[in-house]
Subunit: 254 residues, 6 copies
């Protein structure tokens, strides 16, 4: 009896998924996030500050809670993606997917044959998922492609309909940059907002999870109102810095 | 030219010291705190989740900023205290000081002969402090005793006047427990508040730094108004958990 | 609602507790033990090869399973013992308890006031135990004293009846050495066996958990038959070495 | 006088090589394997749970013993492969080699010019191998290609005869998957057994080392009987889990 | 106000840049180098012995000093290169650049759009660089290509004039190997010396920084006399080994 | 057949022991020292920058070489000392031994009963020492007391004749401080020199190893000439810093 991936049922029920973002390289902070009301926690192996050794401890810490562990890989690097899955991640968010071919390669890296070409050796995945991990991993593990280039934007329909892909995750900063704007994480210029809404709508039509990184809880709530199915209200490093800065300011009476 | 300890001049000027508290075992979070407006950052080797290996990286991270690195030791354990100083801490906060003799032993562990019996071998302290570290370390390094037992409370005048001790730091939770109350970190029952004010007043009269751990920035601001010279508006783990919980709640529209 | 300590109910029900022993300094092996059918897993901070940084990852890994996390401290060192509890250990096994005074100091280090003098700051303990950790920690956390000296043996009745102590854990090797024998972990000479049985009987009479380290599963089964309530069938390093040696031998056709 | 690679002489003498497989991320378990009767120990950087920082400690630990340190890379990633060699690995097992071109690229990454294009900077390799490492590394370091795809199977003759390649290592699980079977590590269906025997025979004819991962010592002994020159009787994580499970079961009297 | 990259102004002023090379995987040694009179310190992620987790601590340690932190990547691997920049490296030295296309891809990985395709998420880069990191990172971050293949040598003019590339760094060992010579780091055969001088002259003509790894301080001084703008007088591992060997020899009276 | 401790035979033969001192927290630097011509390497757990997790990797790295691994403990802390021995240290150097009672407690912590009270559980010691470790550890493991206080100096005869103690190690800096002088590591004022010579002579007369920390190789050679049996020509951090500073200076043409 494999552990089912809660994110599938939340998505099926139309319940928005609240996803935390972990950039601090320690299991203790990841565990704290797991006690803070999130459905999923993404270990950010692209812009986060952890190598494999720290990330493993984070995945274990997340596994002490009900939150689903995800990893954002550093790129479309199949050997690395397979390692995150073996380490017990129950999903992959992959940056810089620009073509249907990229998307297919991403899915393939996350699925055992005959669907894909993931190599067998589930290691910690087996401990997290359960003894019949192999039988169900292909259907339980979530695969999300990030669209954040002009080419990706142009290909969004084809990407969103890639067999086996569970949805699209938007990084507003890189998307803004790709569209010639400044890298903001909140609501942005009309051109960026239009692109975001376009990706969301196409993804929703294809039945996928439409996810997006948000500046904070308020932006996240708004994104949910817009129809997004997975939102990330900030990352732990920013939350900590903001909270610490506020606490210091208040202490100083400012 | 040794790096002078900013905390001495702040105290001399009557400027309250805003101190962050680091329990997360990673240099990245410690460095974030150093960019969040604090005068000092205390690595908590008593209740924090780091061993020496992680703490060293935290002390290095703090040293990239203007904040003064302090360590709270696990107890009155001189060989451990000396290691924190060698690792570049510019001050020690020592828990559970109950007698003048405890206080004298604490000071002795932090001072080179003839004042104390700190062993020579400054290691990273030399890198942080400068090439003439030995000549000035005894006067630059801050030593704070925690009073958090009934016996300590009874001895507060003698402890506060221990030669070489720079002040008293109050842990309201343990003090509350010692006085038969629940372990709260904010304003508390009359008996605890009375004890806190008593310690503060005695310390101030002795010319020392009166410091205290606070639940948050508001409590810290109030403690400053009461005359405290060093306040800690929460620790990083709690700040992160609170901020993360709030962000998730807002995202959920609650 | 605090997580209850499964070991109390097993003991109350007269069900023997099967306890794993972790000497390998990694969370992955600790997590594997948690999937191998044990009721408890003890991180061995005395003879095991981990510092605090590795032990924390082990405690997190154990928390992903149903096994109860325990730590054997390096000795009767209260500041260290308190750190293990703050890191989420749900029990302490303390070596070299020789007098009732030692036993009382051990219990005191594991209990918040007014029962003991544990310092408040539960950190990961709060995450593992639950939000009302403080209210129930004193009764949930298991405290076991090791008797392994002649003096301890002479004082066994007084030690076993120390208020707040949950039982006695026997290290047959050190006990053998104390009695002038070789350090074996299986059944031993008559003098050692007599001492072991004496300790067990006294502990049982006092209502405590009588625990013992065993060479392997067979010895453990025999100890249960003798009336022991907690047995440790070998440690992970030895299990791995033995299994690896056997596999190599078989592969070589020997 | 470079340290010679024991595996070459064992192969030349027709003596089967018994190879341990290390997935636990710690030098202590790797060192235990080195004391358990193996000729070689492979640090598994594909499905094992270690990053570079932990793997370095494992390679050092293996170097305290007579066992030859090998690394399985995460894939055919030359910069990564070169790092394992610089860290002191005396051989590479590379997964997913499907074409002669793949095989040639693998060999090239492991050989200094003019034979290959390995970058110079042997670091720990120099300490392990000796001061004339550069002169002899090309001939001492073992390079094994894994055949585990249909394409690889079709190309086995060309791959096995790649100049500089020392042999083929079979991962029965991935090979089974590639052939439309379930991922088992013991003897399997006729189609898989046929493929395994075919690869072995071709490799042997080409003079290479034919290696294979095995479920346990018994399977390994059988593989040796079939003519395999290098066998891996299980990995450390599985050995530990099995041994720990057995010990717990026996203790429970089951 | 972004932290300006000291190396640009040194280069503009014609002042030779003295660069340390860090292969030891610890922040303490990196910090020692930062106190030893260097303008820059390069964390060697190609031949050095650190993974990301150790490298992060090294970059923090370097940031406690005035030395500019650089990283040599393991190869031309854009996702990895972007991670080093996010971790706070203020420059990249990339091995094995053989074509103008390689050089352009390297520059692109180091520059935000529209100049390049670096992904946004500066993390520690923001802490090191300052709050307006994004606005100035493209111009502050140094990008150096290593030419160490025959093809690279043939393409040196085109590579050196790649828009956005700040210069060329020569690895004499790999260049020697590429030219059919032995891998030496000091002055070498006429053919290697000729190639080195050619690369230097072409780079200088293009206005770039011409850098080179040197066996020791004397070779470095000579390289400066030859016109090099950035020299590396040995790496920390070699410096330590040489110094330690000398100290032992002298102690033995040899 | 236990590994014999080379230091005993060197001492018996009157051959001076050249001892390296490791303060850098990484196995790679420790391994480099082991290839640099030393008879022993001391991991400095008092003033060095490593916790247990890093020290374990260092001890493993030293074990790849012929050098004997020693540890200087943080103080006279028996549970800590026993951990270093279990981790495979073949000797202890203990700071701040001032009385015969201190010396006896130190010896006791290093010897199994009936000689001492070391707890049984040799862990890595067994791997390093061999399968009959227990039978011979008491005689193979070296125990050196540091005399560096006035009281210690006054008690030197009694300390040096403590049964089981193998010798005295002098820390000239702390001894200088204790005698009211500045903390120098080279030849010093007449009063310090007199004390050093006195300790050496007393130790030699008692048949013990007289050891001393030295500023560099020249001082070490001189100390050997004076009759010292074990010398430490500087530590790795200082060697690296000095060598790096010199290389940078030479590169700058100074």
């Amino acid at each position: 009896m494999l552990r089912t991936n809660l994110l599938h049922s939340l998505h099926a029920a139309g319940t928005p998924i609240i996803n935390a973002w972990a950039a601090l390289p320690t299991g203790y902070s990841a565990e704290l996030l797991g006690h803070s009301g999130y459905d999923a926690i993404t270990v950010d192996a692209q812009h986060g500050m952890m190598g494999f050794d720290a990330a493993l401890a984070m995945l274990q810490a997340i596994s002490t809670t009900a939150a689903v562990p995800l990893v954002r890989s550093s790129g479309l690097v199949p050997p690395e993606i397979m390692r995150w899955l073996d380490a017990g991640s129950y999903g992959i968010i992959c940056p810089m997917i620009s073509t249907p071919r990229d998307a297919a390669a991403l899915v393939s890296a996350c699925r055992y044959p005959p669907t894909g070409d993931r190599s067998y050796g589930p290691a910690r995945g087996l401990l997290y998922g359960g003894s019949d991990y192999f039988s169900h991993a292909n259907s339980e593990i979530i695969v999300l492609a990030m669209i954040e280039t002009e080419e990706g934007l142009a290909n969004v329909e084809a990407i969103a309909s890639t067999p086996g892909l569970d949805g699209i995750y938007i990084g507003p900063s890189d998307l803004s940059l790709a569209l010639g704007q400044s890298p903001v994480t909140g609501p942005s210029t009309a051109i960026v907002n239009g692109a975001i809404e376009h990706i969301r709508a196409v993804t929703a039509r294809a039945g996928g999870i439409a996810g997006i990184f948000c500046a904070d809880g308020n932006v996240a709530a708004q994104r949910i109102a817009e129809g997004f199915g997975l939102v990330t209200p900030g990352n732990d490093a920013t939350l900590l810095r903001t909270a610490a800065t506020t606490a210091a300011r208040i202490a100083r009476g400012k």
